[in-house]
Structure formats: C-alpha cells, structure tokens
C-alpha cells in the first residue's frame, strides 16, 4: 500500500508559518517609524484616512502612549522591505506546501482505492543523516585505533630493520636497497629535527602567549646612536604565525613517520612473498604514471595550504585574541582572550550608549541577505529573459546584441563600476541630464540619501548590479537553452502546449535543474560581493547609529565590506573582523548545506560522465 508521506508538505507549511511570523515581526517594527514619518500633529486637527488607520494600528500594537513615538527610528524602509520579502517567501511556501498536501492526499486516496501497489524510492530522513554522522565519527575513531594497532603490530612482528626505522626514518628502506626513498625519509627527519631544535621549539613554547614570559618593546640605551631607541623583542604576530606553521610541520612529520612505518611493513611483505622491491628508478617512473596524480596535485595543494588554509587557521585563532590597532603584536603584544570577542559582538548592550555590535551586525546581515537575494534572482530571471529574447526565432542580429551585452564583462569591472558610481554622483551625468530635461530642480544625492535606511542607494546598487550581472547570466542561459533537446519542445507542441506552457513546463524546470548549483554559488558569492559595493558606494550613505560602534558603517555595507573596514579602518579591530569572518562562514555554510541537500542535480556528479 502506498505509504503516506506528509512530512515534506508539513515542513513547508511550518516554514511558511515561520516566515509569516518573521514578516509580522518586521511589520510590527515598521509601524512606529511609519507613523512617525507621517508627521501629523496628533493633538489637533483631523488626520487623514491613512494616518488614522496607521494610528489605530499603532495604538493597538504599542498602547496609547503617542509620546513614545519620538523615540522611534527614523527609517522604516528596511523593515518594510524585509516584511515584504518574508511575506513573498511565506506565500510561496504556503502554495508549495498546499499543493504538495493536496497532491499527496489525492494520490493517496486514488492509490488506496485502486489497490495498486506503488513502490516509492526511500528518501533519506534527518535521522539517517545523524546516523551517518555518528557512524562517520565512530569510523574516524576506529580508524585511529586501527592505525595505532597497526603501528604496534608492525613493530612487534617486524625485523630489526623495521624496528630501527621507528627511530631512524628510512633506515629500513636503505637497508633493503630502496636508497632513494630511504634518503628522502632520512633527509626529511634531519630537516625536521634541525628546524625544531633551532626554531620550532621556541615558537611552540611561546604559543600560549603568556604575557609574563614575553617582553614587548622596550626603550634601551644604544651606544651607537647615543640615545634611547625602541627595541622589539617578541612579536606575537610572528609567534602565532610561525607557531601555526610549526604545528603544520609537526603534523606533516607525523604523517611522514607513519608512511615510513607503513613502507617497512609493505617491504617486508613483498620480500616474504619472494618478489622484488621497487627501485628508485621505479619510484621515479611511477611519478609520471600510476602516481601521476600526486605529482600533479603537489604544487596546487602546497599553494592552497600555505596561502589559503594557513591564513584561515590563523584567522580563526585571531578571533580568540585581542590583536588590534593598539595591540598590533609588535609594539604592543596581544594575547589570548578566550571568547571575549564573541561576547562583545553578540551582546545587545554597549557600554557608552552607542549602538551595540549585535544590533549593527543584525542590521548589516539583514541587508546582506536581502542584497544577495535580490542580486541573485533579479539577475537570474532578467538574464534568462534576455537570453530567451535574443535566442527567439526570427530575431535578427543575434550576435550584435550578445556582443553589446558582453562588453560589460570584457571591460575590467573597476573601470565600469567606478565610472557608473561617478555617473550617479551629485554633479554627475545623470543629475546633469535630468536637470537639463528640466525634470528635477536640485541634484539628487543618490549615494548620500540616508532616508529610509538609504533605500535609494540600496535599490540603485541592485539595479546597477543587474547591469553588471545580466551578461553573465545571458551567456550561461544561452548555453543551457541551446542544450535543451529540441525533441522535448516538439513533443510538447504535439501534446498541445502553448508557448507559455512550453516555457513554464520545460524551459524553466530544465534551467532550474541545471542551474540550481549555480544559483547557490552565486547567492553566496553575492553575499561576499566586495567589489560591487566597495567600488560603487564604498558603503555609503553613512549609517550614523551603527557607526557609533567606532567604525564608519554605511547603509549599503555588506558584512564583507564591514569586516574589511573593521580590519583595516581607523579602529583596526582585527579580532572583531575575525569573529565576523567566522560568523559569515557559518551563515554561508548553513545556507549551502540546506540548499545543497535539496538540490536534485548535485547528487549525481557521475551522471554526466
């Protein structure tokens, strides 16, 4: 019998309810600023219809005390904006959920009635996911246990060459005639020990950053200059950096040592079975043959390790220190502060009446998500439309249109973005043009208008981003459109589908399926879209309330530009930037994980091969 599956529908409905709740919350927050902005003299006169409705709403939500209005925020743009976004999301989810509910139920009924047995593919549940995670954890510890067991057994069962190799790496290899391998092992051990003795040990020992044992800059008398000069002793920045590197090195050494032990075991096995061991020449040959992937990966992975992994590890560590402009690690040492930075960022209260970090973070996060949402989907749909328009049968000069659009990709972004940003400046071309037309009297301050949380600048940024982004989408969508098998359309036509139905039932689902992963990456990419924001607005217009945290923050600042400002700006609170960086990572990882697990097209990588 068909098993009822209501969970997906219920999940969607619950999410819809949640989204609605969030929307209501934003609406709730938006009411006072709206009422305030109406600027009606409540004491006397008759307010207009809209105003009285809003006032009624306000008294209903906040009570009769109209005086409290004065304390309300000035802008309601963001709240209203967010409210609309969430309402749209809620409606979409509601429709989807109801459709699914109806679909499952009617299908259930019919299947029950007909008595046909319908097998359904088993979908993984959340419990399965946790089971998987649990077994992965167990597997990990078991693997480690097995490693230790194997090391022990190799030692017990091995001959004397093997046993010596536990101390002198590569000894076994050399003794058995694999000179090249053995020498490499030995060399690595010597280098490692040398490094540890001369440098590594001291870096590691200083890594706790114990202030009582480190000394910062001191004024010392120098006979050469005959005056007091500043001498720098310990550099905590370097200690942290090289400490991390040394730890990497130690891990590398342990891995190599394990490899060395394994080599001995393998060699013993081969000798026992009477075969010949691989010579150095064989090793070299296998580097371009069966071990070729290791050769190919060596350089790229080294680059990634040193220039990506190491900085990220460092960044994560910095989030637990007080490395900042005042504690730069050289003239003033920094030290570990535990979770203080997280507390500072996440606490709602701030000391001196300024807006708290948490509030600023929330504000910027909301805008970042909104920006990513609009930037991704406006580009997606408009780009697709343009692609469909250009590729329609009977359109002339297809190549010309495409080339014109592609020009924005061809020209370095900083030029076009900077120029467009200046076009919208107060004395820019756009204002000049509008004034020449006589449509406006005074120049519009596109980038400086702080009303409604800088709504104008925000919308403008999104629009200019469309100008930047459509060409990419147009190219991608064109490629996909051309790949949609023509017989799908032919069969749809024969089945009686109209042009619009063909678009909505074939083109759109097909594009969605193929572009799902792309949409995801472009969403996260937009969250981190530094260039567009920084070059266009530099974060402006200024958000005075949020800037009271010490760093000038604007209404169009994304988390990533805020983070940049914190790290490099006047405050130089690098540690705070690290905390934000970690949070950005967490947010993006969560979004990716959720969306990724829902995408149908990502699971089958090998399907294309």
């Amino acid at each position: 019998m068909y098993k009822k599956r209501l969970t997906p529908a219920i999940v969607k409905l619950v999410c819809a309810a949640l989204a609605l709740a969030v929307a209501l919350f934003f609406f709730y927050k938006a009411v006072p600023p709206i009422v305030k902005s109406l600027d009606v003299d409540w004491s006397g006169g008759k307010p207009g219809f809209f105003a009285s409705v809003m006032l009624g709403l306000y008294t209903f939500l906040y009570g009769d005390n109209i005086d409290s209005l004065a304390a309300a925020d000035d802008g309601y743009g963001v709240h209203l904006f967010a409210c609309i976004v969430f309402v749209v999301i809620a409606i979409a989810l509601l429709v989807l959920g109801l459709r699914e509910l109806k679909g499952t139920n009617s299908f259930n009924r019919m299947a029950d009635k007909s008595g046909i047995e319908i097998k359904k593919e088993k979908r993984p549940t959340i419990a399965d996911f946790f089971k998987k995670v649990w077994s992965a954890i167990l597997g990990f510890f078991k693997a480690i246990g097995d490693e230790f067991k194997d090391i022990w057994l190799t030692f017990v069962n091995g001959d004397w060459k093997t046993k010596v190799s536990y101390l002198v790496m590569g000894f076994g290899c050399i003794a058995r005639g694999q000179i090249l391998r053995g020498l490499l092992f030995l060399l690595f051990e010597i280098v490692f020990i040398g490094y540890m003795i001369f440098w590594g040990a001291s870096w590691i020992s200083k890594l706790p950053l114990d202030m009582t044992k480190l000394s910062g800059a001191t004024q010392e008398y120098s006979e050469i200059y005959d005056s007091y000069v500043t001498t720098y002793h310990d550099n905590t920045f370097k200690i942290l950096l090289y400490g991390v590197l040394t730890i990497f090195f130690i891990i590398g050494f342990i891995y190599t040592w394990r490899l060395n032990v394994k080599q001995n075991k393998i060699a013993e096995g081969i000798i026992k079975s009477g075969k010949k061991l691989k010579s150095g020449k064989d090793d070299l040959r296998s580097m371009v043959d069966d071990q070729f992937h290791k050769t190919l990966l060596a350089l790229p992975l080294l680059g990634i390790l040193v220039f990506t992994v190491m900085p990220i590890v460092f960044m994560i560590l910095v989030a637990f220190t007080n490395y900042s402009g005042t504690n730069d690690g050289v003239s003033n040492l920094f030290t570990w502060v535990g979770l203080d930075n997280f507390n500072e960022l996440l606490s709602w209260k701030s000391a001196d009446g300024a807006q708290s970090y948490a509030a600023t973070f929330g504000e910027i996060l909301a805008w970042t998500l909104m920006w990513a949402f609009f930037a991704t989907f406006t580009n997606y749909f408009l780009g697709m439309l343009v692609a469909i328009a250009i590729n329609k049968k009977g359109i002339r000069l297809k190549k010309v249109w495409r080339t014109i659009l592609v020009l924005t990709i061809a020209i370095p972004q900083f030029i076009s973005l900077l120029y467009v940003s200046k076009m919208f400046a107060k004395n820019g071309i756009v204002n000049g043009f509008l004034m020449d037309l006589g449509w406006i009297k005074k120049a519009i301050d596109f980038w400086g208008d702080t009303r409604n949380n800088g709504l104008m600048a925000r919308v403008l940024v999104i629009i200019i981003n469309i100008w930047i982004g459509i060409p990419y989408l147009m190219l991608i969508a064109t490629g996909i459109l051309m790949n949609i098998p023509a017989d799908l359309y032919e069969s749809a036509k024969i089945d009686g589908a109209t042009g619009w139905q063909q678009y909505s039932k074939i083109t759109l689902p097909y594009m969605m399926f193929i572009m799902g992963p792309y949409l995801l990456t472009s969403f996260t990419g937009n969250m981190n879209n530094f260039n567009v924001i920084y070059l266009l607005t530099g974060g402006n217009p200024l958000n005075t309330a949020a800037s009271s945290t010490g760093i000038a923050v604007g209404h169009t600042d994304l988390l990533i530009t805020w983070l940049f400002k914190i790290a490099t700006g006047s405050g130089n609170k690098y540690y705070q930037a690290s905390v934000i960086g970690i949070l950005v990572f967490v947010i993006i990882a969560i979004i990716t994980l959720i969306v990724y697990s829902m995408l149908p097209s990502v699971k089958n990588e090998e399907d294309f091969q």
Binding site: T308, F314, I395, I415, Y419, L437
Partner: protein, 383 residues
C-alpha cells in the same frame, strides 16, 4: 498584380518615422551646445515642456512604426495566397508583434548597456574642465588626457619625463601587464593540473579534497589578506616590491578554481585515456599527447580569465602595495585619481586611463569570446 500593402499603412509608417525622427532630433538639439534649431517661442523655451515634447514624439513615433510594421507583415502574409490558413496567419501576426517588441526591447537594452561606455570615451577627450560636469559631449576636444597619462610636462608644457620613471600611469600599466601575464601562465598550469587530476584519477582522498576546498571557499578571503600581507612583508614583497607578491598571492590559491575546467574534462570520454594507456602511454603521456591537444578551448578560457582578473583587482593590490606608486596596479592608481582630493584634477584623466586599460583587454576578450562563452556555460552547467 495584387496590392499587398495598403496605402494607409504606408502613410502611418512614414508618419511614425517622421515623428520619431523629429522627437530624436528635438532631444538631441536640446543637448547641443549650439542648437541647430533655435526656438524663440516662449512656451517652448521651458526646458521641461521642450524635452517632454521630444520624448513624447519619439515614443509615439516608435509606436506608430511598430503598428505599421505589424500590419504590413499581416497584410503580406494574407497576400501569400489562399493556402495559408487563418490560424497560420494569426500565428504569424502575433509572432511579428512579439518579434518587433523584442527588437525594440533589445535596442533599448543596448542603449542602456552602451551609455556608460560611450560617455567615458567622450569624456576622455574633454580638455576643459578636468573635473566632473553634468554634460557628456565635450565643449573642447583634445588628446591631452591621453598624453598626460604617459608623460609629465612642466608648466610650459614641455615633456620632461615619462610616467614610467615617475611611477605614474605607465608604471602601473606595466606592473599590471606583468602580473596579468604571469597569472595567465601559472594559473593555467595549476588549474589544469588540479582539474585534470580530479576529473580523471579516482584516488582515496578525492571526494574529501573536493569537499574540503568547497568549505575553504566559504571563508571570506578578505581576512587572509592581512595575514598574507604580513607574510609577504617578511619576505620583502610588499610596497615597492608588491608585484611579485601579488603574483604569488594570485596564483597560489588558484587551484581552488578548478570547477570550470574539471567540468570540461568530464565531458571528454574516459575511454580516450584508457585506449592511450593500453597503447602504451604513461599517465603523463596521456595528459600531454591526448588530453592537452583536445583541451584547447579550456586552456584558452583559463588563460583568458587568468589574464583578465588582475586588471580589475583593487583590494589586494591596494592592501599589498600600501600606496607605494611603484607597486600599484592600474586599478589602485586610477581609484586614487577619483579620491576626493584628486577628482577635480584627474576626472578626465581617469576616463582616458580607463579607456587605455579597457581597450586591449576588451579586444582580447572579444577575439576569444567563443572560448569564454564555452567555459562559462560549461562551468555553470557542471557546477
């Protein structure tokens, strides 16, 4: 002979063309420094009415042209003969309407897309004033901005040195070129190594490695910059010597961007590799003799993207060059010209510089567009 198009339609068409021409002319006239058509009537001197009439004429004219185009095509299809059924005609007419509409839409889009580029070119030829102004077409034309990019003059206007020796535009341009060339070569090598391996070899750590790199990509790269700056400073590769430092930073992590080329390699049949291995080729020979000759499009794509990226990078270049003019790239240099204290002297120079930077890159891009499109579409599809 059959009359295929009615006289009324032709009249409407002509009317439409005339109206839109008038509208266009009226708008253009308004912006000319010395209007060809001088209007003295009082009610027309009002700017608002004037430009609105022009725009209105343009819109009405376009609509008329559209209407007549549709009816012409409908009449033409009617005249095609009795065998064309009514349904067919209807389809044709609706097709013609939508096609015309799309053409108009595309024209509008093209205008929007081209406007900034036309403006920047026009303004780069403006000699006076040098600051930002509200009109587009220069009142005084000249090449001074371009000349000033490359040479320094004294007060009398005599050339005293090139901007290469004074760490000006020419120096930045050369810096960027060197970075771009190195990146193009090294990035291609690294990315091809990475993507070919991940596409063709099935080794134990493969899946884990790919996931790991996916996770790494989620960290904001901005923060690495500060630590990388310190590392490079230790190596002496910042400020004046930022160029090698920048190259190192750009290429070191380029292995992470393997997706597009992996997608390409995935489409090459695996049996090619297998056949070659059975024919006696080592893995390296397979790559060198079989795969690389077939991978031309993706090699060109990677070279192209590798070459183009450094021209646009501002943040890293700015942070690592630390405002030392010898180590800047064009993006940093030109950005500084637009800073509040320089913009009034350097705005037109910025436009000229932008044009000089954009032209070679854009030409290269346009020539190799086909490969770029292949790469971008393939990459997006394969994710």
């Amino acid at each position: 002979m059959k009359k295929t198009v009615s006289i009324t339609t032709v009249v409407i068409l002509v009317l439409g063309v005339l109206l839109s021409a008038f509208g266009g002319f009226a708008i253009a006239n308004r912006f000319m420094a010395n209007p060809i058509w001088k209007v003295d009537h009082e009610y027309l001197t009002n700017k608002f009415i004037y430009s609105s009439i022009g725009i209105g004429c343009l819109i009405v004219g376009i609509l008329l042209v559209l209407f007549s185009a549709i009816s012409i095509s409908r009449q033409a299809s009617e005249a095609n003969g009795p065998d064309s059924s009514k349904h067919h005609m209807g389809m044709r007419a609706s097709n013609a309407i939508s096609n015309t509409a799309i053409h108009i839409l595309l024209i509008v889009i093209s205008i929007i897309w081209l406007t900034p580029f036309v403006c920047i070119v026009l303004q780069s030829f403006r000699v006076d004033p040098l600051c930002q102004v509200g009109y587009v077409i220069p009142k005084h034309w000249g090449f001074d901005n371009y000349v000033n990019l490359f040479v320094n003059k004294d007060d009398a206007g005599k050339v005293i040195s090139t901007t290469l020796s004074t760490n000006g535009f020419l120096r930045w341009y050369l810096n960027t070129l060197i970075i771009a060339l190195c990146c193009a070569v090294m990035q291609t090598i690294i990315q091809l190594c990475m993507s070919y391996t991940l596409s063709r070899f099935r080794f134990k750590a493969r899946k884990g490695l790919m996931k790991f790199m996916l996770i790494l990509g989620m960290f904001p790269g901005m923060l690495s910059m500060i630590i990388l700056y310190n590392v490079l400073k230790d190596l002496g590769l910042t400020s004046e010597h930022a160029v090698p430092g920048l190259i190192l930073v750009y290429i070191a992590s380029s292995g992470m961007g393997y997706y597009v080329s992996k997608g390409f390699f995935d489409t090459l049949p695996k049996s090619l590799d297998e056949a070659a291995r059975i024919d006696g080729a080592t893995r390296a020979q397979v790559l060198w003799k079989i795969i690389l000759p077939l991978a031309k499009p993706i090699v060109i794509y990677t070279v192209l993207t590798g070459f183009m990226a450094p021209w646009g990078d501002y943040v890293f270049a700015q942070y690592i060059s630390r405002s030392a003019p010898q180590g800047m790239n064009v993006a940093v240099g030109l950005y500084n010209w637009l800073s509040n204290d320089q913009i009034n002297q350097c705005y037109t120079k910025f436009c000229a510089g932008g044009v000089v930077v954009a032209i070679p890159v854009a030409i290269l891009f346009m020539c190799l567009q086909r490969y770029y499109v292949e790469g971008v579409t393939g990459g997006a599809v394969k994710g």
